[in-house]
Amino acid sequence: MTNPSSRAEKLSSSVGSVVFDADVLVLGGGPAGTWAAISAAEHGARVVLADKGFCGTSGATAAAGTGVWYVDPLPERREAAMAGREKLGGHLQDRRWMARVLDRTYAQSNQLADWGYPYPVDEDGKPQRNSLQGPEYMRLMRKRTKQAGVTILDHSPALELLVDGSGVVAGATGLRRQKGDRWTVNAKAVVIATGGCAFLSKTLGSNVLTGDGYLLAAEAGAEFTSMEFSNAYAISPAFGSVTKTLFYSWASFTDEQGSVIPGASSKGGRSVIARALRKGAVYAQLDEADAETQRHMRVSQPNFFLPFDRTGIDPFTQRFPITLRLEGTVRGTGGLRILDDSCATTVPGLYAAGDAATRELICGGFTGGGSHNAAWAMSSGYWAGQGAAEFAFQLGATFGRQVFRRGAVGLRSRNGRPLQGGALAQSVQGEVFPYELNYFREAGRLGESLSRLDALWSDASVADAPDEQELLRAREAAAMLATARWMYRSALARQESRGMHRRDDYPEQDDRYRHYVTTGGLDEVWTSARPLPSLHYAEAAE
């Protein structure tokens, strides 16, 4: 229901900028951001949501679609769902959080059904709710966000956070890139739901995901965790963007000569594919799918078939070249560290949801093929929206409060040389794309890469703000750079292999590292070890 008096207020609209006053500002309009905005509004807050692209088409889910960790609330099913992932994730998950997310995902999915999402019904007449078509889901989420009374700002990337004199987050500012001006939202709490960082690799729907939310949160002092679990690579046709990997479970993988590559597979053998790609071309063919499976595939993932239908390849009977595209933290598990059940970050007034937040609590060090990210986005979105609304009410009136801009890199005048976003982004890609640096990690190579990345940061941090048209590119590149440095510092700190983090020099899992790695900092990047919540409680009880 829309209650006009509960809308965020537009304060002024002079040439060059527009100013809003809200209780809660949500940055990012993917699943996490829209769920957060709706939840905050349902909890009584006046909400503005700003998206870099268009809320409804932007982000990984809208383009890709997702499986969802939707599990019937039968104790044995829930137990199996949790237990089944613990080994893969390197035993870093937390059972209490897994149970909470299963409950919340179940509730949110059923809410979607009530809102009219066209879930399929199986042969026995039972609705099936463990998959969402991206465009359909996000079109519905945009509609519901508007109906909740949320003010949506499209094509409005956030550039930096505002904080008050005591460091409490007080809003944000950004660009209205199609209007050529700026926006400012004064808010009592902010939710970061800007997704992960896929380093402009063109993995499906993810070029809007450059870690912007990480950078602006870090500038306000936020901490990160599990950033070493950030080397997810997804299979796609070599020429294309469609990194949908489920159907490669039916594939055989061959080399240039057509010989089967031993051990290569989508699940459990993707590193073999990466190694083979370093030597030459790798081909796939979905030759294990029978006719019925092929029919199911067509209707379940229409986007999977676009690259084939448009090039005249029959993926079931013909080999096609594949590659692995980096997805970074989008299908990794690292992100903003959250402190409590409301998804509060370490900065007062700042909340995090979806891929922008860590998924270590339910995924540990591995995700992909498990539908947890989608479940996390809806659950953490719901909680962060509620947490932000409650924070806003507790804060009370903020009239006349002085606020300060926290952004730095790429936003100030410094040494007279403008920050070159395009060139910087390419340099960062050169450090994070290569399999020998990021997929297969090793102290020497990581260390050398880090010194190059640190040098890039030293340059970037003293550069001038570029022209208005280049500003977003510059901030995106700076965010990618900061992300790469947290990733590799954390990767160096974890001297073992666990989850998706793979060290050539420490190939085994090592019990001494059954903890989380926290990281943060911009000019100086630091890391530290943090005990798992469950171990923490166990010790406290001793």
Binding site: A62, G67, Q178, D309
Partner: protein
């Protein structure tokens, strides 16, 4: 990458300008312009939202192909993604045709 706006079909409604997540199109006095093709992320979503099936996104993500509208029309590719997801009347049933539950856990 986005390759084609079919000038015959396009009604200059500007929906694509609005919905493209990476801001590839610019408004003009008439039909929109593909102003930043290199920023296209090959997500195919503009095709889904174009009410006239006037757009064609080539599946080649890294290199522009220079595609010919006539050939694309000939192959009935305009609007094919919209039909496949059930966003046109004649294929509405496909919106609820997801059989992922039969495919998970293979």
């Amino acid at each position: 990458m986005i390759e084609v706006i079919d000038t015959e079909r396009c009604t200059a409604c500007d929906i694509c300008v609005n919905v493209c997540p990476t801001n590839v199109f610019d408004k003009t006095d008439g039909i929109p312009r593909i102003a930043r093709q290199g920023d296209c992320q090959t997500c195919f979503l503009c095709e889904l939202y174009c009410p006239e099936d006037a757009l064609f996104v080539s599946p080649f993500a890294d290199v522009p192909q220079g595609i010919d509208v006539a050939a694309v029309k000939e192959a009935a590719l305009l609007g094919s993604y919209r039909r496949a997801v059930g966003w046109v009347d004649e294929s509405r049933h496909l919106r609820a045709a997801d059989r992922s539950y039969r495919l998970f856990g293979h």
